[in-house]
Symmetry: C2
Subunit: 429 residues, 2 copies
């Protein structure tokens, strides 16, 4: 990956810049807004993730020599544009919903205010990061919520692009996953990593007992043995025996997990291995996790459905010019086809309106400053970039704590997996 992220951009952003430089409109002050017109069908809320990644990528959004050479060779832009790009650094302001925050239709997740030239180039990169990471986070949040106190581990790397996997692990952590299987995510984002063995390890050995013995000797009795390669009851018995009853956990990766968990729990208890945990994997999603709530399961490993957003691998977020400077220097609202309330100009405010008991009741969006209102209103837009300087960095653990708080503020219906409308309405003030 080149250090510069400037070409993670659609061709048309550069040609628009070229034409705007030509027409003298490139320097018009502009406000772009990143938002979604709807949540994925039936979802009650969405979750913001990727903010920190977007800021890191923005910092590297510069047109270095090789990048300019490429644009020149391909004839994407002319000399005047190359000249402009060689000095490009985003110098405007960016506000946004903080990582881990909840969002709803028309929530202004990101607001970019700068010249047209500076802001138009960020469209694709910001959308890529947010569309992907919010999709994973929105699915992850439902999973950890229905899992209750039971830990969820992210195991989906193999089901998605190798770099998307890292972002997915990160988004899952923000939404309460306790660990990831992905080692690079552990290194890059400081996440806890976990894993012990696959079926291939058992099959490599002459007998299952040989494999278990090797694993326990090497990784300790607190390891997790995968017990469904051959006969589960035999494997559980062998695991308990080899560890002298101290086995950390068993993993079930196939079959009817609820029934099997009950059977294995009974067997473990009978053998005196009351502390041995049962973790389950195998195509879990939020619905399967919810269905296992009454089963004696101690943890979930989630792969495919997490990294693919549980049926919604992208978030339908768009990046639209909502206002730009007119000839008189004032910001003018602009919108495709017809003016409507949701695309009015100027920098917006966004509030989560809470009732007296602290439960969210509306997403309130408007222009300028909010009318003096309810003291329970919570401001949602945070400064992320001020005059080109990134100010919005924070630890993932802060985002993780924010997510729990924001989720707990929602009406209880938000936790429902049945399809329905967003759990609170979006109100344009």
């Amino acid at each position: 990956m080149p250090d510069s992220t400037a070409l993670m951009t659609d061709h048309y952003e550069l040609t628009m810049l070229r034409a705007a430089l030509h027409s003298g409109t490139a320097q018009r002050r502009s406000v772009f807004e990143l938002f979604g017109r709807r949540l994925p069908e039936g979802r009650r809320y969405g979750v913001v993730a990727g903010v920190g990644r977007a800021l890191d990528l923005l910092e590297r959004f510069v047109f270095d020599g090789p990048t300019l050479d490429f644009l020149q060779e391909r004839g994407v832009v002319d000399d005047a544009t190359l000249d402009y790009l060689s000095g490009y650094r985003f110098s405007g302001d960016i506000w946004g919903y903080a990582e881990g925050e909840i969002y709803f239709p028309y929530s202004p997740l990101v607001v970019v205010e700068s010249t047209f030239a500076e802001a138009v180039l960020l469209e694709t990169l910001l959308l890529s990061v947010l569309n992907h990471d919010c999709a994973v986070a929105s699915a992850a949040s439902r999973m950890t919520w229905v899992a209750g106190g039971r830990p969820c581990v992210e195991m989906g790397t193999r089901r998605t692009h190798e770099e998307a996997a890292l972002a997915a692990a990160r988004a899952a952590y923000v939404c309460g996953f306790s660990a990831t299987s992905n080692l690079e995510a552990g290194r890059r984002f400081g996440l806890p990593t976990m894993g012990t063995s696959a079926h291939s390890f058992t099959l490599l050995h002459d007998t299952e007992r040989d494999a278990f013995t090797a694993q326990v000797e090497s990784l300790g009795v607190d390891t997790t043995l995968l017990v469904d390669t051959y006969d589960i009851a035999e494997a559980v018995a062998a695991g308990v025996e080899i560890t002298g009853g101290q086995l950390g956990a068993v993993r079930l990766d196939s079959g009817d997990l609820g029934t099997l968990a009950h059977e294995v729990r009974r067997q473990l208890d009978r053998l005196g291995a009351r502390e041995t945990r049962i973790v389950v994997t195998s195509d879990l999603d939020e619905y399967a996790i919810a269905a296992l709530a009454a089963a004696p399961v101690d943890g979930y490993g989630v792969g495919t459905s997490l990294v693919t957003g549980s049926g919604h691998p992208t978030s339908s977020l768009v990046y639209k010019l909502v206002a730009r400077e007119g000839d008189d220097g004032e910001l003018v609202s602009v919108a495709k086809k017809s003016q409507d309330k949701v695309s009015v100009g100027g920098r917006k405010f966004a509030l989560r309106r809470l009732d007296d008991s602290g439960v969210a009741e509306a997403e309130v969006i408007g222009i300028g400053h909010p009318t003096a209102g309810d003291r329970n209103d919570r401001q949602l837009l945070q400064p992320l970039v001020r005059a080109g300087t990134i100010t919005g960095r924070e630890s993932l653990d802060l985002a993780r704590e924010r997510h729990v708080r924001a989720r707990e503020e929602l009406p209880l219906l938000a936790r429902s997996l049945t399809k329905g409308d967003p759990v609170i309405p979006t109100v344009h003030d």
Copy 2:
């Protein structure tokens, strides 16, 4: 991104290695196979993509100092394993279906033969690349097929992770897309890139006419004007007038595209702009493209549904140990729970069996060498890595040509978008 790709790996691969080094089984010669048990529901065929990317990532799969430090600090492995990893280079053989090839259930897309230690570490990385890239390619192929001779342009970057977007653009090109909007994909993979303007460019200007004039002056009359910001008929008229009838193309990005295309074609012809093309975008997928076959459309831009695999963002490919050395040094077939024909040991062959007219009639898979058979059989497994040396690199254009040939070999039913079984059966010889 670190140069080393070695941590794009699930934690458990390292712990398995650690335990196998401990038990003395790590050096057992092993055969792993990467395959899918099924195609996405209702699909007639799948398309192989990502082979070249996998080889590039494999070349960087080395445990450098920082990588070893991380594994040591986290306590993932012990000293003996660190010692092994410090000298790790894959030194075995890899065969695989070539990029652009068609595949079916149980097609052995990749076969890895080496020690267990060397091969087990590649599980996650190979699966990530193939699961993602094949999903995009399999969708892309359906789109270009139903588009017939009309060019398709990949425009989905904003809907997926910023790095996944590059792989998606590459896979789409293999499957016949003519260009991508993604500039980095243009640089990294040498793909043609395209794009002109978005609604924000029109909205930036005081009038649509100002915007069109600026674009035409800057980019030439052969540019593509986006005509649905306000009134389409007025925009088309203005575009033709400004270009003296020489306008390259108009783009429609909303509304009922079929109806609008007919109306705009009639208007363009009436204005004498018979050479002006009409390109359409806006949530297209293979079904929408097929529905527009009779409309006067000259090209398609496809985004979301392409990069998310048109409903199937991952490919359900798995990586399984199918054989390993026994005490006598011979390869022993291994399989979870029960032996079955599809997991028999040893290196497989795979053939596309063609009838006398050259139409594919079966995917034939077996062990060892194929029985002397039909001269129309086509060998599918190509050497990709020999004794650790990468031999399978090729240009994307070769893969693109291969894809067209392989697709044309299929029974015509393969082009159908109705749900059904794979278009040819998989036969175990």
